[in-house]
Symmetry: C2
Subunit: 806 residues, 2 copies
């Protein structure tokens, strides 16, 4: 099974060098040739140098700069007239495009004119570049081309204008998919002698991250070359991603907008920073031959980081576009070696391997990645037999249950007339496992099987008649209402949802615990809900479009069950700047069974459901900038002793490897929340209930540590703002704030945390950066954690989704 | 005209001390008595101490703490049963409420039980407080009470839970207006011996900002008392406002949710920080007698800050609730003195004075404050006579025009056969003013009056016949299409909108300039658009609800004309942390007439409208935290020489005082953008055009300066994170970054900005605050400006609003 498509890039020169004949044009011949070489897709520029020449002469020369102002008015009028004629009716000449026929265009990926500066500082250049891009896209659409790769954004300062133009194009050209070309690379490596022109794809002598001469913009790569003594590449990588984030935000997450990542330059060695791309719509990856290094034998291979990144990128099912493979960059292997190597990386990608291995979740979940499903409501809805069948296929879950029952039964060796009650027997898998466990423990027991689904109850009767006989007593009814003849030693249930309690296991077991002796054992005996903040453009778009499997109420206010793939968990381990953050994935709350110290009415039922209300306020450290689209929910359950079930990403392989029954829960947010590097996210989530239903509400706030800065110019005359502030030491009483509050209230870092430590010395204030502007900074001031953003409250009052108790 | 209502607070004791008789209850008697004393409204608590006693016994004692766990199970069961009974069916006993009859409740403002801790750290306390609040609100609704003041939030940490409960109440109690009680005060003054219990209103011995014993929360006022050596009260004031902002955000800006500001404590002396409340829905102001100070004669007066704040608050038309006025806090004047003093402040409020003075904008605009109107489209729509009439009433605008024409005519003394063309004559006011100006200058001229509105053209004919005769030649038609017999020396037009160019003056004058001699004068000769970011809960809600005067397309994607009142301009003068910010209100772009160096076709018209495209990227310094809801747009025009028109808030009084014709433009944002103190806002706005229409698009990003911080725990094991980072000096080449880029790219502050300054010394690293958590900070690292948030792109492609060219 192929995960990636392989593309081959042909330059204008390649096309020129390929002779056409009466039957086939050069482009068609190239397309046929590369297919013979093992490629799937031809990638080529849409326009020729003739077009660049005409556009430059028409649009740049009509700008009226010094040189041209000297010409006589008539010449300028003619120039302007020509530009205005083009603006009002943009059209190509035959020699300005690489393709003219439908058969040439079929299946190709084209690159729009790379030299178009959609983010030029000059309004006129931008204006005319926008018209040119629209002209190119309209022509591509005319030829039925599906995918166009856009010029790379160049200027962080003017990227909003780039984005606005792309958005306009998405609206005006209805069917074509657009990909933003984006270089990701390690800026630290730029100083180390990278080839001056690695972007050989489009014959452009300039790097996309460089500007046209005279553009008064500090550009990403310019800056990164001038920077010394910086902490690391984090900031520049952020800038690249920030530009993408701004573009897709301005384009309102249009599903026809994707990424063409350019790996022409060396990647950073910290893969953590690269994880963010897993949550973005990467449709193309540029991989020039020059990116490859030679192995000992002279064959082309990739650096370890690039290998890992490409392997991980297989989840995107990208088109990997090779270029320059026939330029003999590497001494051995020829053009075929690149193709073979990339196919090798594909085969050895962890996600590809897992998917192709039977018994893994990845294999089981094929086609369900990032597919939103409404959570089951087995209490309110009676499940269908096929649903039971799917879940009964999970070998791991039932193995764990059998082990738990076996251990519990073994621990109860001395109990005579052992009674086991299966609460919610469904079609009987736990009954069968309980019988297995008893047989293995060489123990007899009476088994009660309680089930409220009248249809499943028929299946239970059939199994009793065929297999179980007198060992099993069937009881039909709701475990919260019916009476059982005798109390059990072991109460077995499988009422757990992806978030633990979200299929109302707590409420059901509140009723079923009446069947258990005071000293009895509940399997499971506890379960815990876990959360982590995530970024995923895909899930955000899916939730927004309301596309769910079971046609449940749509929207961004309801949790979904989903096999997470195109997702980046934004949190990291570590205490955060406030010191109050927990780990990457955090516990929300737990439920225990039987409830300790529960107060019950005469029937053994709780007075109300108030005791099942929960809330949690979690604090996450966010190491790298990202956009939060929602929360990932997981559960972990203790069945008995050390036997458990877990879908916690970091623990599931230790607890219940290859268990298939639960995908994570996804709590979406209505509006994406931007989180800078080193920020903190405080999530509040509530489990709420009334007499008829249970639901969750969730909310988040973002915080950042800043140094106390004298507000420049604020309530001070500008002329007198050249002075320096004297810094005062922070002498706060630290016996008090061991408090959990790390919000907008002053948070003294750098203060002595106990008397054994020296007090912070009075520091010399630093210089203001720009004396002309008078920026104050008092270096000795403590860091302060301040609020920077928040979300709305989600699902208030269970408005958009609730779990029915009836 | 009364701006404020005056309320009088009656405590439970006051009610008890008032004897009731057969006809009138104590509450009714109190209501009658305070009306005689000059008050409008009675304010009283809804519940008595009996209710507090029962709730505390029921809910707190059932919590099962150490003490109660010792009791026998039977007693605990009884307690729990009582609590659960109440939870399932909450109801009052007669002696637990202050009112029972409709006549008592009529028109009163009630205070819900202040001791309810909706933001308690304990889940059970919060749960039961929520049930109690719902019970109280349901009872208030039963009595037909319109306004309930909620307990003050106490905990920044748990304020989200407070907010969630209030939101639930807003949904479950449909008609009652809820007000969040919020103390605003100067925390610095707390150390200076403020009376221990200033909140005498509700007989609560505790300040609302203090916690119940045992609540493990660092509270606002607790913190502020322990703080020493802090830069100022900014942070604590932010915390108070932050809590409000979080509450109303979680309540989704519900229009039934308002503020009851509590002025029991001394206000900060910096009014700048208090401006934010002008943009919030302040419906009540608590003003206890203890807040008053005694003047030289012993009469009660308020501090200067509180005076100013109260005067400014008259825009809210608040209910000012006095309390303790009969407690003889001040030796002179008695209870009546307080009432008289507040009424005096009302009369001397600048906004009240302006509104009551004829000829001011405030007087003219009564009833139009914060009222959204769709901008006029006089090019596309033919205005009605009444609309002309309204605008012709502006004495200042026409005075300025007459002066400009007078000066221009005077400067053209030597020109023979002077010709004046009025482009867009409407019903003729500019023609009349031109005639005046000529008379004053003792000069003759031929006047052409061009008008495309066929209906107004009839009025022009009548005026020509009646008043003007041969001096004026009428020309009927669109100035962009028709031909005129001869070219003018002066072209006069009044095509300006609130944002200058937004009624298409540039496009119309491109056509009309053909009527002007090459050396001719255009009045106006230029105009400039200005912008500033604003906060306004009112405008956000109005725009969101789509309520506009003229029934234009609704929503948050279209600019509105609006007389701004409940608004706070968020920007401040000063360079900001990056040093790149402009002033509080910034220029976007300008248009000049006649266009210099314009290239025109043979008819004298431009080839296309490309030259009227504009864009601006503005950088605003945000001194105080706030939520941005939109942009305020203004214009300033030069008519001729030094004569102009301006609605720029800081300049209009110098340029064209009391001009009535233009209210500002309001560009809303779809989602509020949170801006912390000392942040920067970068706004991009575009003026765009196609052949049929003109429109604006707008977008914003937020930035903040942070110190480079080693990501705690990131790619470092937690156990080894106790060490300290050594700080490296920043030795960046500063010949380069005089650039406008202050985005996510490294921004070295504290670096030597020229060689005359000493290099930043290597600093000793500071101590980590909490050695148990291992937070790293390298004090010597430069400040970095990073992105923290963004808005969507608004009105892309002119989708939601455009200005028609046809």
């Amino acid at each position: 099974m192929a995960y990636a498509l392989l593309g081959s890039f042909a330059s204008v020169d390649d096309i020129a060098k390929t002779p056409s004949d009466d039957k086939e044009t050069a482009v068609v011949k190239l397309a046929n040739r590369i297919q013979d070489e093992g490629y799937d897709v031809l990638c080529l520029p849409l326009t020729t140098d003739q077009w660049k020449k005409r556009w430059t002469e028409t649009c740049i020369s009509s700008l009226g700069d010094e040189e041209h102002r000297d010409r006589d008015r008539e010449q300028r009028l003619a120039d302007e007239k020509r530009a205005e004629d083009w603006r009002s009716q943009p059209a190509f000449q035959l020699d300005e495009v690489t393709m003219t026929r439908l058969d040439e265009a079929q299946g190709v990926v084209v690159v729009a004119s790379e030299w178009l500066e959609l983010d030029a500082a000059d309004d006129w250049v931008r204006h005319d570049a926008a018209i040119a891009l629209q002209q190119e896209l309209a022509y591509a659409a005319y030829l039925g081309i599906q995918s166009v790769i856009l010029p790379a954004p160049r200027s962080r300062e003017h990227v909003a204008s780039y984005a606005r133009i792309v958005n306009t194009c998405l609206k005006s050209v209805p069917y074509v998919n657009l990909a933003v070309r984006l270089p990701i690379y390690d800026p630290a490596k730029l100083d180390e002698g990278i080839p001056a022109s690695p972007f050989v794809l489009g014959r452009s002598p300039r790097m996309p991250s460089m500007s046209m001469p005279g553009t008064p913009t500090l550009l990403v790569s310019d800056d990164s070359r001038h920077a010394h003594n910086r902490p690391g590449p984090e900031r520049e990588l952020n800038t690249t991603w920030e530009m993408w984030d701004l573009i897709r935000t301005i384009c309102d997450y249009n599903t026809r907008l994707s990424l063409a990542l350019d790996l022409a330059l060396a990647l950073p060695s910290t893969l953590g920073v690269l994880n963010r791309w897993s949550a973005e719509p990467v449709r193309h990856i540029f991989l020039p031959a020059s990116t490859f290094i030679a192995n000992a034998k002279g064959y082309p291979v990739l650096s370890k980081t690039t290998q890992s990144f490409l392997r991980a990128s297989m989840t995107h099912q990208p088109t990997i576009i090779l270029s320059g493979t026939t330029d003999r960059v590497h001494e051995r292997g020829g053009g075929a070696a690149y193709v073979q190597y990339v196919r090798h990386l594909e085969r050895t990608s962890p996600v590809v391997r897992a998917t192709e291995t039977e018994g893994t979740v990845e294999h089981f979940a094929q086609g369900y990645q990032d597919y939103l499903q409404a959570p089951l409501q087995p209490l309110m809805d009676n499940l269908q037999s096929a649903t039971y069948e799917t879940f009964e296929r999970d070998p791991v879950k039932y193995h764990q249950y059998e082990e738990a029952i076996f251990c519990a039964v073994s621990d109860l060796q001395d109990v005579e007339n052992l009674i086991i009650c299966v609460a919610g027997a469904g079609r009987g898998p736990l009954v069968a496992r309980a019988l297995n466990a008893l047989q293995r423990a060489k123990k007899d027991a009476k088994i009660y099987a309680v089930e409220k689904n009248p249809n499943a109850y028929v299946t239970l009767q059939r199994r009793k008649a065929a297999d179980w006989g007198d060992k099993v007593t069937l009881v039909y009814g709701d475990m919260r209402a019916l009476e059982v003849p005798e109390q059990a030693d072991i109460l077995v249930s499988e009422l757990l949802g992806s978030f633990g309690d979200n299929e109302l296991s707590p409420e059901c077991l509140d009723g079923a615990v009446r069947f258990l002796k005071p000293t009895g054992i509940s399997i499971p005996c506890s379960y815990t809900a876990h959360l982590a903040p995530l970024s995923s453009a895909k899930l955000y778009n899916e939730a927004r479009s309301g596309a769910t499997a079971s046609g449940s109420p749509a929207g961004l206010e309801t949790p979904y069950v989903v096999m997470l793939q195109a997702v980046n968990i934004l949190s990291g381990d570590g205490p955060g700047v406030s010191g109050a953050c927990g780990p990457r994935i955090q516990e929300c709350w737990s439920f225990e069974h039987p409830r300790k110290d529960a107060l019950l009415d005469e029937r053994g039922l709780p007075f109300s459901n108030s005791h099942n209300v929960r809330s949690a306020r979690l604090k996450f450290h966010i190491p790298h900038a990202g956009v939060m689209h929602g929360l990932a929910g997981y559960f972990e359950a203790v069945l008995y002793g050390t036997i458990g079930l877990s879908i916690h990403p970091e623990r599931k392989d230790h607890v219940s490897k290859d268990m298939l029954s639960w995908f994570p829960l996804f709590f979406p947010f209505r509006e994406p929340l931007y989180l800078p590097s080193n920020s903190e996210l405080h999530v509040t989530i509530w489990r709420l209930t009334n007499t008829r239903q249970v639901w969750y509400e969730w909310h988040a706030e973002a915080f950042l540590a800043v140094q106390a800065i004298a507000a420049p110019g604020w309530e001070k005359p500008r002329s007198s703002s050249l002075g320096l502030l004297s810094a005062t030491p922070s002498l706060q009483d630290l016996s008090m704030p061991s408090s959990p509050l790390i919000d907008a209230v002053d948070m003294p870092f750098g203060s002595p945390s106990d008397t054994a430590m020296p007090a912070t010395p009075v520091r010399e204030p630093s210089m203001a950066r720009d004396s002309g502007h008078g920026v104050h900074r008092a270096r000795g001031e403590p860091l302060t954690v301040i609020k920077i953003g928040q979300t709305n409250l989600h699902n208030p009052g269970g408005r958009s989704s609730w779990i029915g108790l009836e």
